[in-house]
């Protein structure tokens, strides 16, 4: 393995792009914050903080999905992803960063009593409302803050522990006994993350952060739907970085076989997302109970109709048709295109999940949304590249690495 490039060097162009995006996005973010976020008009406040909320929550969950991918692969003792695991690790280093932004925004919204975003913050309304009173044990500022703090801290901490143990595979060759204990310790550490992930992303966190915007409404599909959305976007993000690094001449051990499996995840979880989307939609459509259809009323028949159906075309029909063929999943250009499309599609999905409830009457998609998106993408590019450059690209003594090299689909 003498010819393997182990050290990632950040290309100058990537840095320029990242700083340009952060600059433009940062200006849009700050301008929006001071003109709308701190304005006295409730409507403008909701517009700004809602836009910031869905962006930061989306990127936190998407980067966290990279760590989830690593952890469930480790738990299943999967070997195929070892040749590019440092890419997923680098993406997951963003969880504390985006998590901190999410935390700041949510704390501001909750402590600032922004009851136009979270209706359950309005204590007078809750006192008169039997439904909200019934939910008050869960939907209250104290629990929200404690659980949010715990969630973000433990994702970051368990993720950090997983990245640390991966570094052990850099140092010395392992004998059989060391490799065995390394494997068991990796699985134990991934177990902690997975359990906590199940208690947060796959259940409580989407209820608290997103579903409680429609405080009266609930859906048992919602958390899984959010999880599927963020996971498929996370796989798309991993695919994009793998393809980028490969294009720059790194990751010699990763080839079309690995790309095929990543694209399979993108394909399969696009369909899984649609399954949840449809299950949620059909049951509510069929029962036709006003307190449930309230969520879909303005999305299917109101201003959000184009976005609602665009969501389905971009996130279901496009991956279904384009990624179905084996040759498509092995084509770097096509997978890169689909990864961008899926990331955009699920960003739009989060947009309609949050803004569709906050701004029921008109679609607000505009400079603020794309500006804040640009800011987050800029931060993501810069930090992932830095993290990639800070450690070897290949965990070269990992006991499963050989299996990954000879991986064949």
């Amino acid at each position: 393995m003498a010819s393997i490039k182990e050290q990632f060097e950040i290309p100058g162009k990537l840095k320029t792009w990242a700083f340009a995006l952060i600059g433009i996005g940062g200006v849009a973010l700050l301008y929006g914050m001071f003109t709308q976020g701190f304005s006295t008009d409730e409507h403008e406040q909701v517009h700004f903080w809602g836009t910031l909320m869905y962006n930061t929550i989306f990127w936190t969950l998407v980067t966290n999905a990279a760590m989830f991918f690593l952890c469930f692969s480790t738990m299943a003792q999967a070997a195929w992803m070892q040749s590019f695991r440092r890419i997923a690790e680098a993406i997951s280093t963003l969880v504390p960063v985006f998590g901190a932004i999410t935390f700041a925004v949510l704390i501001y919204v909750v402590l600032g009593g922004k009851h136009h975003i979270y209706h359950w913050l309005d204590t007078e309304a809750v006192a008169k409302d039997p439904i909200l009173k019934g939910k008050a044990g869960f939907l209250n500022p104290t629990f929200f803050i404690i659980w949010t703090t715990l969630a973000i801290t433990l994702w970051s901490y368990f993720g950090y522990r997983m990245r640390q143990i991966s570094r052990e595979a850099d140092e010395n060759p392992m004998d059989a006994a060391t490799a065995k204990s390394f494997n068991i310790r990796s699985m134990t550490r991934s177990g902690f993350f997975l359990v906590w992930f199940g208690l947060t992303v796959a259940s409580t966190i989407p209820w608290l952060w997103l579903m409680s915007i429609d405080a009266h409404w609930y859906s048992t599909m919602y958390s899984w739907y959010t999880f599927a959305s963020s996971f498929v976007a996370g796989m798309a993000l991993i695919a994009l970085w793998v393809i980028y690094a490969k294009n720059k001449g790194y990751l010699e051990l990763t080839n079309a076989e690995h790309l095929h499996d990543i694209a399979k995840f993108m394909f399969a979880f696009s369909i899984f997302w649609t399954y949840l989307w449809f299950s949620q939609y059909m049951l509510i459509w069929y029962a036709n109970i006003p307190e449930e259809t309230v969520y879909f009323k303005h999305r299917v028949q109101g201003a959000y109709k184009p976005i609602f159906f665009l969501n389905l075309v971009v996130n279901f029909l496009a991956p279904l048709i384009i990624l179905m063929k084996r040759s498509a999943k092995r084509n770097f250009t096509l997978v890169a295109f689909m990864a961008v499309l899926i990331l955009f599609g699920h960003w739009i999905d989060f947009y309609q999940m949050v803004m569709g409830s906050l701004m029921k009457d008109h679609v607000t998609l505009g400079w603020l949304d794309f500006g804040i998106l640009g800011f987050f993408v800029g931060v993501l590019i810069l930090m992932v590249a830095r993290s990639l450059a800070s450690k070897p690209l290949i965990a070269k003594n990992h006991p499963f690495l050989k299996e990954s090299i000879i991986h064949q689909v």
Partner: protein
Amino acid sequence: MAQKKFVVGCFDDEKVLFPAVKQVRTAGYKIKDVYTPFPVHGLDHALGMRETSLHTAGFIYGITGTTTAISCISWIFTKDWPLNIGGKPHFALPAWIPIIFELTVLFAAVGMVMTFMWLCQMAPGVKKHHFHKRATDDLFVMVIECTEKTNAEDLKALLAANGAVETDIQIAEDGWWFGTYDNENENLYKQVTN
């Protein structure tokens, strides 16, 4: 149904098998098949077999299922026997999606199994000649069909030189037959090694 002459080489290791496959193909022989006790990764590429078309067939069966379901349900519920079900429109697409999905899967699955059986000539009662009994246990059995130009002894020597632990020449039934193996030794299968 025809009897043909085959040269059979048996290998006890995949590491020996792969170079042997390559050597035999380079020497210009056409390998009929290699019978292995378990699926061997990459052997299909080594044998130069083309990618299977089974998934294309599966796609066509799936689409057929989708079309059947949509046309059938929409005709029944809008033209043939419109019913008022819970005040829903007659053309109630969301309610049909599960059935459309089920029929797509059913057509694709059953169709692909049938096609697979057809392509591999498998069915209850269908028998084929076994070139070596240990192909189901621990031997990799390479079979080459002889033409008029083939010198069977040369080929045997080539196989042995490339690591075959056992070689022989068999005259055996090429296709399949329906029935039992009872008469195979007497009528269909003459071992010509001596």
